[in-house]
Every structure is written in C-alpha cells, then in structure tokens.
Amino acid sequence: MAAPLTLLLLVAVTVRAALYRSSLADLISERVEVVSPLTAWKRVVEGLALLDLGVSPYSGDVFHETPLIIYLFHFLVDYAEITFMLADVITAVALYLSVKDYNKQVFRKQKYALEADRYPLDCLELIRSPKEMQYIPLKVAMFYLLNPFTILSCVAKSTCGLNNAVIALFVLSTIKGNSRTHSSPAEGNSIYPLTLCAAALLYLLQRQYIPVNLRRFSFWWFVAQYAFMYLGSLFVIVGLSFFLLGSWDFLPSVYGFILSVPDLTPNIGLFWYFFAEMFEHFRLFFLCVFQINVFFYTVPLSIKLKEHPVFLIFMQLAVISIFKSYPTVGDIALYMAFLPVWSHLHRFLRNIFLVSCVLLACSALFPVLWHLWIYAGSANSNFYYAITLLFNVAQILLVSDYFYAFLRREHHLSHGLYLKRKDGSEATLVLK
C-alpha cells in the first residue's frame, strides 16, 4: 500500500509544482471562488508587511487570520509554496490512515454481526468484502489530492489548505482513539469545526464501548473528561494567540469577522448577496438565523447517527462547507474526499447524475459570469448570484442523497433487502 500512495503523492506534488511555475498561479490567486477575505495569501503578506511597519495587523480590516498564522509565516514566508504542498500531503496521508483504520473497524463489526446472525438472509449482497474495501483509502487520498478544487486552492496559496490539514489530523486522532493528540480544530480560521467535537465524542464513546445512555454515570464522566480536554486545548491555543501581539484584538478581527460578515466580497456561498441586498432593519435577525443554521444541525444529526459517527463527521463537514459565511472550493474538496468511503451506497443514490452535471456546469460557469460582470460589464451581479444558488442547491442535493442512501442501507440491513407487501407482491419503500 505504501508504493501506490507514494506514487500518488509524487504525481500530486508534480502537478502543483508545475502550476506554481506557470503564469496561471497569479491568475488563480485572484479568483474569488478559490480565496476569500479569510484565506487569501495576499492578505497574509499584507498582515506581515503591516507588522514590519510597526502597525498591528488587526488595527485595519484587511487581515483576518489568527496570530498562529503570523507565527508560522514569519519564518516560512519564503517557503510558502512548499508549506502549502506539504499541508495537502499531510491531509491526504491523514485521511488515508484514518480511512484504513475505519475500514478495519467496519469489517470487524460486520464480522461480529454476521456471526451473531443479525442480518436477514436476503441482504447478503449488501455485505462488504475486504477485497472491495482494499483500495478505498487510496481512492480517498486520490480524491483529495487530484481534485481540481484542491489543486486550485493549493496553487492560490489559500490558507484553507492549512485548515483542511488541521481538520484531517483531528479526524485521524479521533479514529485512532488517541486522546492525547486530540486537539481542538477551531484554531484554524473558523469557529465552525467546533461542531465536529460532538461527532468525535460519539466515536470515542463507541470505541470505549460506553453506551450513549443519558442515565448512566460512565457516559457523563466521559463527556466531562472530553469537554475538559477539548476546552483546555482551546484555551491553550487562544492563549498562545494572545501572547504573540499581547492584545485581544484578534478576537473581533477573526471570530467577530466570521460571525458578523461585514465584508461582502462575492464568493461561492449564500451570504454575500443576501447581506448586500438586505434591508438594514432585518440585518441582525437574518445574520443570527444564518449563523444558527450552521450549528443547529449538530444535535439532530448526532441523535440520528449516534451509531455511525464517521458518517456524522462527513455530514457535519458538508453542512459547514455549504452554509459557512465565507466558503471556498477548498472546503468542498475536503468533504468530497470522503465520498469513496461510501461508494457501496451507489445502488441507493437517486440523483447522482443530475448533481454531478450541475456541479460541473456551475464550476465552468463561475469564471465566465464573473468575467462578464466585472470585466466585460455586459452581465450584472444577478448572473453570478444565480450560479451560486444553483451550486449550493446541487451540493445540498448531493449531501442529502448520500444521507438517504445511507439510511436506506441501514434499514435494509435490519429488515431485509427484498421486501414484500402483505399480498406477496414487491414493495416500495417511502419515507413517512
């Protein structure tokens, strides 16, 4: 397994290095679909230049990265390209290892369930074999590294790549069950990965064989331990950020910026045009609604998917990428990397052709309509906004389709694959 992975890494690094040397690198780093005010490399350089001038980078409104990025790039600004390529490689390797471990556990659970005769007889074709699961980790790494979205994000030197690396390491440490290296992923440019802690908690509970029962002491004791460790690491990181510049200026500049969305630069998300056209009276209300929208799926999804925490992580990442305030294509690439893990669901997916066509068409239309609006002046902002809407609807359909397929497979595994109605004829399943 190491050889194909190494070959894949080499190919990925070569592609990125070739693009760095070409003239496309400057073009890509200006694209609003790839960089946002939170993740743009130009702003990181501007923040470092402000620091050199003796002005705090947070005194203006141009720099919105955490001080840890200043720490990192103060020394590495000349090796930025290597840093971002390394971040992509780390993400791919972390995802590879975590999916490999997860597959082992899935197979082990399946084996126990088969021995305990828990599956109905006619759903044996739904059972997965080790042979089919063998290439999944490599496919996951490939889906991440060779995804055009990831390549664009890396060539633009968007700090989204670094965030993805941190989240991938978080997933890896969760799946390995190693609580010691488990740390808060919220130090990236985002507060949204806070929702991943619920999924991680459920996974660790499952691994320790602690049942999710609100009446048992062992459950609450584990939750308390986990919360303590999570909050502790969060405070350590915030404290480190404080000590760089000796002030709390970064909190409103980074987290306040993410929550209050003052910058309306167009991107592929839903927030910018909505708040550009918002009536001033309702601005705060809708801001709260949209921000709560990202967080409040955590509890219902956790309750429904408490037996399947890794799928929960996938759902959470997807919800965050679609509904966050400044999404970029790098965020999408991260949750799309998980799709090969659910490749066994393909027989239950209903809309996959439509969704992939729409996603491809929208990805092609984004730069065209941007050019028409900003440079040619023959279209206006509505065109770009329409493609944004379509792109997000397609992503929502994709995610809900996979969710449907997953739940349906679970239903079949407990009730049998070929279902019959009372009179013996073939039945159809609906959601009621």
Binding site: D61, V62, T265, I374, L431
Partner: protein, 550 residues
C-alpha cells in the same frame, strides 16, 4: 472701549502665460479680541457674528474651509497663491481645552453646513483623518498634538451661487461696495477654476507678539479661460471678466488695493495696462520676487473723471513657465475588482533636491495593500524615510498614508499602490452609483528651495497675498500642491432585487433544511397502495353496514 478691528481688501490680477487670467480676491478682518474667555462677545462690527459664535462655541483655534470647482492646472498656470483641492476641504485645529474632539467636529461640520449652504454634513468618521505631519497650524500657538486636528475633504461637492451668496454676506460691506461688487455669480462660475475659502486663525499683533488678534481671511480665486466665448482674445478688462466696474472702495476698509502682476513684463513689452499708474510695489511670493502695479481705491484720483475704474490689460506676446513642484495622479488597471493608484511628483529644479510630505486619504472601500507600495525616481527605487500608515476600518475610518519622499533634482517620482474594490451594501451607494466614487486629492506639502531670500519678518506691512503662509527661513518657502481627485467605479449589486434575493436565498436554505428534516424525522415504511376512489367510498359504506371491506 471696544476692541480694535481692521478690514483690508485686495485683488491681485495675474496674467498667465497661457493667455488665461488669474484673479485672486482676499478680504482680511483683524480683530483684537479674545473669543476664548468667559466674557461673551456681543458687539460685532466688522467680524461676522456667525463665525465669531462658531469660534467661541466650538473652541476652534484654526479653521480652514474651501470650496473649489475645477482643478488647478499647475503646468499651464503656475502656482496659486492659495491652493485648494476640488470639492470641499475643511481642516480645523481645536483648542486643547476640547475634551470630545470627534463630537465637536461633527457639530461643527453641521453648523458650517448651514452657514455656507453646503452639504458638509456628509463629513463623518469615514472621511476624516488626523494627519500627523502635513497640516501644522498656520497661526500662532504651541499646540502641536495632532489629536486636535481634523482634516476632511468632500471631492464630490459642487460650488454654485448658493454657496457664494452666504460667503459674500460675511463681508463687512457685503457685495454693495468695494471689491466685492465684482463678485457676480454668472461670470464667476463661467470660468475654468473657482475657489472660495475662509481661513480663521490667531495672529500676532506686532513683532513682539504681546497681544494676539483673530484674523479672518476670505479668499476667492478664479481663473478665466482664454477660450470662453465672450472673452477677448488677448485683452482683458474688469468689465469683461466681472461684468462690473469699480466705483468706490468699501468705506469700512482701511486699505483697498488692486495689484496687477507685471513681473513678466516690467518694460511693458508683452502687455500694457490702462489706466496707467505710477504706484509700484514689490513682494516675495512663491519663491520669486514679483513686481506689481498698484491701484489704491481709497484714493479718489484712481477713479478718474468718469468716477469708475475699468482696468484693461492688452497682450503683445507669450512665453512658457515651469513650476518647481507639481503633481499628477491617476488610477490604472481594468475591471471592477482591482486597480492601482499612481501619483507622479515632478521636481523641476535643475540641481536641488528637496523632501516632500505626501498625504493620501483613501476611502475604506478601496482596500489598499501597503505591501505593494513602490516609490521610484528615475527608474530606481526611492525608499521614503518616514511612513505613517493607518489602515482603514470598514465603515469607520479611511486609510491614511503619509510619507516623506526625497525628490531628486529634475526628475519624476512615481508612487504606486494597489487596491481592491469592495462590494458595498445596497443602501451605501449614491443615487447615481455608476457615476463612480470620488477619492479626495492627495496633498503634497513641502519646503521648496527659493531662488531669492524670503522675508521671515511676518508682521511687517505686506500685501495679503504674500503673507498667508508663515515663513520660517529665508532659503525656502512653504508650498502645498493638491493632485486631481480620482473617480473610481465599484461593482454594484442589482438595486431592484432585495426582496427577490431574500426569497431565493431563503428558499435554498429551506431546501437544505427540508431535505435534512425529512431524513431525520421520518423512517422507511412499506408503502401500501391506496385503493381507488370508488373502492374507498364502497369501503366506507361497507363499514357503516358492518360488512368486511373489499
């Protein structure tokens, strides 16, 4: 007795080499009083009451306000006596007894807006800066803490008769007597450049500076275009310029003079002035010693037998001139996403280099990237020795960039900086958003080396036009140059769409919510086909009869 006050008026007419003519009016009122003490001043004679009340109520130490229409073309016209940027410019030094400078500034701009009938109420924190070096006080006083200084420009402000009328009302004689009768708006606004300003500052009474008095200068600069229809080709007269002639001086003025600049033509070879006068005067202004023919309006003999004075200047030939310091500015780039501001500063001195302070106040919606700042002179990098940069905060304050650049002799220095254009909320656009947004002029302040020795004795009896800027040393004089304002287009959203956008975006969010809600709350069940309508009705009847259903 009541404090002494004094009023002087003068008009300087300078024929320019391009054939245009530059007329500069200055009306100065000196009043030996103290607005700052507790005793309320109630008896106003020559000093306008509205401005006196403004000074005492807002604890103003210095106030400079100008309204300008048009842009001063330095290359063709030389240097103005009193430079001003297009639009409205207001800078004020407050006394150090003021505790809330920002609040006082806001009230002051609103009151001035009423006095001058101009929309100065658009001055707020998003276009106000506190320059640290470029605007030192022009009057006496030792407060140099730039917390008490506020500077704002409104490059979009238009000047018209509505602004001239209240300005004229502030003069002691109004527009009824003296030089102010020439200020007729139909001619004044039919010009290439028109600027009216009010400057208030404390000055020393005499050389020892034992007492101070308040000086109010009202200045009006106008350049009449050679090619405006109706103007003679190479002949100018007061009647042609202002459609009036002078009949008397203002009775309240202690001095009322007209100066015609004849330095370029001392022998009378290039143009001639009539009626001729024997009074000559010399003054040091803008680094040059210039000679003037003087007409004293307080003398009856100036008006001659016809009891009216119509000065006539007739040309004979032309020449070119080069100012020592001059600047240009423009926006480069294409599209509505990014751009670049280029500022060019020309030093035309053959062998001397001198430093200039460049002040740029760029609105917050053009996000400057200071790491892209480059300063090049003669193709080589020219690093500024002092940079003061205050980044902008969205919707709170603009960018402030001040730097000290050394201009090499006989060279062009180019300062470039890249910016990104922001998308604003739909309510933040003006009613004509495709006109573009204005960026105020850059200010270049500098001590330019002087060819002749300047006069540092500021309280000596001098014409008003040469005594505006204080002169501290003999070898150089203070000059301030304003560049062009910029007009920048920003990307606009569709203004007819707020309701539609809210509906559509909420629909997409609801699609997400709906799908996830369905999958979370419902479970899979086998679908029982529902029987047709006829069968259902039959089943109901059967149930009523007590018979088993179909």
């Amino acid at each position: 007795g009541c404090p002494k006050d004094d009023f002087q008026e003068e008009l300087v007419i300078r024929p320019l080499h391009s054939g245009d003519i530059y007329a500069s009016f200055q009306f100065r009122t000196l009043w030996e009083t103290d607005f700052m003490r507790g005793n309320k001043v109630s008896h106003y004679r020559l000093f306008p009451k509205s401005l006196g009340q403004v000074i005492s109520k807002f604890s103003v130490r210095e106030l400079h306000i100008s309204f300008t229409q048009g842009y001063w073309r330095t290359m063709q016209w030389g240097q103005p006596f009193l430079p001003s940027p297009p639009g409205a410019e207001l800078w004020v030094w407050f006394q150090d007894s003021v505790t809330d400078v920002d609040g006082t500034w806001k009230e002051l701009t609103n009151v001035l807006s009423g006095i001058f009938c101009a929309s100065l109420n658009f001055i707020d924190s998003t276009n106000t800066v506190q320059p640290s070096a470029s605007f030192k006080p022009l009057g006496i006083g030792n407060v140099t803490d730039h917390r008490f200084l506020r500077y704002a420009t409104l490059p979009r402000e238009i000047v018209c008769t509505e602004n001239l009328t209240p300005w004229k009302k502030l003069l002691p004689c109004g527009s009824k007597a003296g030089l102010a009768v020439l200020l007729k708006s139909e001619k004044l606004f039919h010009s290439s450049f028109h600027s009216q300003a009010v400057h208030i500052r404390p000055v020393c009474q005499d050389w020892q500076c034992k007492t101070t008095s308040w000086e109010l200068r009202q200045t009006l600069n106008v350049v009449f275009d050679l090619h405006t229809p109706g103007q003679g080709k190479l002949e100018w007269s007061l009647f042609k310029m202002f459609s009036r002639t002078l009949t008397e001086a203002c009775p309240l003025a202690s001095s009322s003079k007209i100066y015609i600049d004849i330095t370029d033509d001392p022998q009378g070879e290039q143009f001639e002035v009539s009626p001729a006068t024997h009074l000559l005067s010399q003054a040091m202004v803008l680094g040059d010693r210039r000679t003037f023919s003087v007409y004293d309006l307080t003398q009856q003999i100036t008006f001659g037998t016809v009891r009216s004075l119509n000065l006539l200047i007739r040309w004979k030939s032309r020449d070119m001139l080069r100012p020592l310091l001059h600047a240009e500015r423009y926006v480069a780039g294409y599209g509505l996403q990014t751009g670049e501001i280029h500022t060019l500063m020309y030093n035309n001195h053959p062998y001397r280099s001198f430093p200039v302070l460049l002040l740029d106040s760029v609105p917050w919606y053009l996000r400057l990237y200071i790491h892209t700042l480059t300063v090049t002179s003669k193709g080589k990098d020219n690093k500024p020795s002092y940079i003061h940069y205050q980044p902008s905060k969205d919707r709170v304050r603009p960018h402030l960039l001040e730097m000290l650049v050394q201009l090499p002799p006989n060279s062009v220095t180019e300062v470039t900086v890249q910016f990104e254009r922001a998308l604003l909320k739909w309510t933040e656009y003006t009613p004509d958003p495709n006109h573009g947004f204005y960026v105020g002029s850059s200010v270049i302040s500098s001590l330019v080396p002087s060819i002749v020795a300047m006069d540092t004795n500021s309280t000596r009896e001098q014409p008003l036009f040469s005594s505006f800027f204080p002169c501290k040393e003999e070898s150089s004089y203070f000059m301030r140059v304003y560049t062009e304002p910029l007009l920048v287009n920003l990307p606009t959203p569709d203004f007819s769409m707020p309701y539609n956008v809210i509906c559509l975006t909420c629909t997409v969010v609801a699609v997400g919510y709906g799908s996830l809600y369905n999958l979370l709350t419902r479970s899979f069940q086998i679908e029982e086909p529902s029987p047709g309508l006829a069968k259902r009705i039959a089943n109901i009847i059967r149930k009523m009869r007590g018979v088993p259903p179909l």
